[in-house]
Symmetry: C2
Subunit: 397 residues, 2 copies
């Protein structure tokens, strides 16, 4: 008897899941070790011209009440009604795979607990880095490591904009407009441009590595809308690329410091070569030193590929995979304040200013340099005021 | 009751496995879901000063006859006696994790069959790309994909040598000498420099992706010992890095074409930024488009980290993981000959020669260019003779 699957949502990702499933059905079944079929697709819209039109339903009850359905792919996006639907599925023992980072970042702990309580799985590989396998390698392949730091380029839209500024000398505004024309950015680009999307993803990675739920509202988040073209150009002259970096590190006292902000990345670092809409995650552990995972962070088939990979895992694992999970946090005392963040900084100050850094470079936009010493966030702000800095950006290390 | 492990070989990797295990025992046990202990370490040498000296044995029979031992880490290297020992373990139902690429490339199909027959696992994440999670992501996270191509920098020694030629203008001979001084290259560097090590690794990747055992002797393998400094420098001017690329692709008729050879990689490709002893593997699939895995391809703790990750998996999976396996090949008719390989080529020819490529660049070493059109391996050889070429190298795409 074949395993029956339901797909919630037939938007970009959901339709990708259905198409990729039927395209590679034979090899997917071989890897899952059993026959599989999609029994339901939940969507309020009509799709009368699709070959699998008879699989559509507008009623979630059809799915939740069908005991044949043992695995569900959630591709609706947003917290509600996704949360209510996913929780209901897990409570019926149906494993769920999701691409919904907003849902995982807001409610991951609750859904993981529900999966445990009902001996099924809540998988979310697609919620971070799209097609890039990162969640499973983190908890499986790197299981022997003490991981103390992770950092990545987790938003394709902002990376595309920064690449266009760098490669084609475009202003932030022009590059954003191009991203919107190409469909890489939404009409309202706030979630991408201001770093909220990257923040949700670093919350998921932080929760997984350190074992406690990290909420987006507890993570310092700064986007790229204030990045000037001249700073991108000057950073290059100083041997760096400007990237929106989402990172988390464990401090000496065991607390963690997650943050999202534009940073200067040395051209020597492999992550500086991650361009256009590509994403990458660097992981640092005591065994591995460093490893990087790179690929398409978004898009119909890349994301669908990750969702389907999880569905196959769910079909193969009939019991809860405990290791890929974390606990609720009673409070946020394990999260350090951004004031404790320390780095070298890039400053752009008025020409004539006495510089306090190496390799100062001067042009019509002012004098730019990178500080010799590390400064905390608070100290960098004070220094910026003292120097009347037009821009100051931390350097990634 | 705790799960008992044996480690075969206490050389660089084996001692790393033991040290990393005791360093991270608590978190490893949490991830494995049970208590674990190393009961035996097999080595013919004495280590009287180690805190775990009582665990050493010189007699493999102690391990094979101890029913308490359920997982074994093989870190001896070489085909024998590793093959005999590993096969005996699997036939007793003890799962084995290995870092031994020579063993997997030569005998993988036999050992995978033995694991299946005795309901245990033969894992080999550490045999390709050291610390980089690649084997498991390939068969798990990318399970929904039709993968038709993989390519990588799979040997750290040669990548270090090429990086030194590029960065520091060193000749091949001087860079090799430095690699030997730093412990990156063996006294007899043949296996690394002539591509045999990279060949074993692409054999393992090819076997896993395409499901049939690919033997090293059926793979075209060319090393970097003929690469001239002037070609590395000229390639850079033409926008490329010279890398030792191990690759495999599926042809239209379903046969596969694995190969190891120096290639020019465009600076636009993320893999051109993989430098020093780092390794990386690019995977191409119909869902993901492309993904890259990057990290330390060798070294004590990076490799130990991958072996231990597999041991944890083996402890968690009490039944054979069928999907991470392949079959014996009855013959090699599924492997295409290198003559069918087709690419654009870099040529360096005597100045005055009429060029047949784009962006010709001339200096005292001759005239260099990349061909407009793709040429097969055989046609490139003919063209090189016609033009009296001093060098010709294919371009990676």
């Amino acid at each position: 008897m074949s395993v029956k699957i339901a797909v919630l949502g037939h938007g970009v990702v959901g339709s990708g899941v259905v198409e990729l499933f039927f395209r590679n059905k034979k090899s997917i079944e071989k890897r899952a070790g059993c026959e599989m079929d999609i029994k339901y697709i939940l969507d309020l819209r009509d799709f009368p011209n699709l070959p699998y039109k008879e699989k559509f339903t507008k009623d979630f009850n059809d799915i939740i009440n069908d005991e044949e359905v043992s695995a569900v792919a959630e591709c609706m996006g947003g917290v509600e009604p996704a949360f209510t639907f996913v929780k209901a599925c897990l409570e019926k023992g149906k494993s769920v795979s999701t691409s919904n980072k907003e849902l995982v970042a807001a409610k991951g702990d609750i859904l993981l607990a529900a999966a445990k309580a009902h001996n099924c799985n809540f998988f979310f590989e697609a919620s971070v880095g799209g097609a890039i396998p990162i969640i499973r390698p983190l908890h499986r392949c790197l299981a022997a490591n003490d991981i103390d730091k992770a950092a990545g380029i987790l938003n394709g839209t902002t990376n595309f904009i920064l690449t266009k500024m760098y490669d084609d000398n475009m202003s932030f505004g022009d590059a954003l407009k191009l991203a919107q024309e190409l469909g890489y950015a939404e009409k309202d680009p706030t979630a991408d441009v201001e770093g909220h999307d990257a923040c949700r993803k670093i919350c998921i990675i932080s929760s997984l590595i350190f074992g406690k739920h990290v909420y987006p509202e507890n993570v310092y988040t700064k986007g790229i809308s204030e990045i000037q073209l001249c700073d991108v150009a000057t950073a290059d002259i100083l041997g760096h690329s400007v990237k929106l970096i989402a990172s988390v590190r464990r401090l000496a006292d065991g607390r963690i410091l997650p943050a999202v902000m534009p940073m200067l990345v040395s051209h020597e670092n492999i992550i500086s070569g991650v361009n256009d809409v590509f994403n990458a995650v660097l992981v640092y552990g005591d065994g591995i030193d460093q490893a990087m995972f790179y690929g398409r962070g978004a898009g119909k088939f890349p994301t669908a590929s990750a969702v389907l990979g999880d569905v196959i895992e769910a079909v193969k694992h009939k019991v809860t995979v405990f290791s890929q999970s974390w606990e609720s946090a009673e409070n946020n005392s394990f999260i350090a304040n951004i004031d404790e963040f320390s780095a070298k900084w890039y400053f752009r100050v008025p020409d004539g200013c006495q510089d306090i850094g190496e390799d100062a470079y001067t042009d019509e936009n002012g004098k730019s340099f990178i500080t010799f010493d590390k400064l905390t966030f608070a100290d960098a702000e004070i220094k910026a005021q003292e120097l009347n800095a037009m821009a100051y950006i931390p350097v990634f290390e």
